[in-house]
Amino acid sequence: MLSFIFNEAMRDLRRAGRVGVSAILLIALSLTALGGFWLLSLNLGRAIDQWGDRVRVIVFLKDEPPAARLEELLQKIEGVGGIQRLRYVSKADALRLLKRSLGSQADVAEQLPRNPLPASVEVTPDAAIATPEGTRALVTRLGALPEVEEVQGGSQWVEGLEQFRRLFQGMGLVVGAVLAMAAILTVTTATTLVLHLRRDEMEIMRLVGATESVIRWPRLLQGMAQGLVASIVALATLEVAYALAVPHLEPLLPMTIGLERVLFLSPWQALSLIAAGTLLGAVGGLLARGRAHA
């Protein structure tokens, strides 16, 4: 029985002809778009994670603490939680840093009547809270301390990148969904066309007592086979595009988003894409309606 169902499905696939090929191409197109967005989003995500590790929060103090109270203050700051490291920068250290950054124009700083720079504490958040939301909460907690004048830094731009990634993922999902719908409709059309061609067979099958599952399985398999072929085509297209683009992209990445390498989809992700294609084809095959008498 299994060989019968399989052979009928393959016979139907051959009969689908150009419409069947169109269905395969459309599924491949939608999966390529979906996979492409996935790939880019994946690498953007890695960049965001990496930048998350470099997030710093600067806590400016109202007054420079006396040396005897410094340890106590640092412990108090650490006590707000979610902090990996602290580094105290005294007023003198801040001025020294300013001069160093001014280089040959460091004389300007010498003209100042007094050191206007505040003492500060450079805070490195815990990796676990180095997200836009986590960092925001940390900034609020630090700002509530009475010794603190102002809290700066954080993850505004990482937040922007994160928003861009979300927008990108959303776009990918919308484009993928639209293309997936089109692919399902094409598979449905291809399968319906085949069902129309084989309505006599279906009539005979029903008349001799075939169960509905025996009648339906070949069309489901036909759709699945189309989806499977399409997802392999999509993966191959992505691989080729990746292989062609990476040598040009990689030299630019460290200077822009800070990544050393662009990664391709993992084997599990590639398998998920193949499963999605097969599922798309199956849905199209199941939605097909064929008319047969009896």
Binding site: F4, D200, I204, M205, R206, L207, V208, G209, E212, V214
Partner: protein, 223 residues
Amino acid sequence: MIRLEHVSKVFGSGPARVAALTDISFNVAKGEFVVLSGASGAGKTTLLRMLYRAEMPSEGDIEVAGFDVAALRNSEVPRLRRSIGIVFQDSKLLAGRTVFENVAFVLRVLGVSRREITPRTFSALKAVGLSARAQAYPHQLSQGEAQRASLARAIVKSPGLLLADEPTGNLDEEMAVEILGLVKDIWARGTTVLFATHQARLIPQLKRRTLRLEAGRLVKDEG
């Protein structure tokens, strides 16, 4: 094998209402050969279609091969149909398949093992004298041969009941007699036969019990 009690069939409603069959009752015993006669439009095909549940009766009870046809769930219809062989006026052979494949198709659909399919298919083809044409395609067959192939397809699953819906309607008299002879051979091997025909000349040759339909009513049951 077949029992109908006060069966009626109405198509449409209101002014478009057409009574195809009215208050039909009869029995066909196991192993019997019964002719269903009547002019075109008398209701023969509708009656046969109700027997294999392609149509539902509007009223009355139908029992076929132990199945209460009207009460059958859709999922149980295949079981009813497996016990019935059906031949039509047109052979309904599948154009892209050889005679052998057309007959074997039934067994493949029903999940018969590959080992059994070939001998059973050849046995059915032999029973209708078509073994030599096993590899021919439908378009290469004469009408008589096509109808014989259709008969082979109906009997290959060894049904207890054969419903023949005007199988000789498109044939000349010589071919019709030949097909009739084959149907009688099938009946002689123990299959119950309900043979529908509008060809009045054939009926005396059959010398069997005859049910006559006129305008959807059973007007005669004799023989």
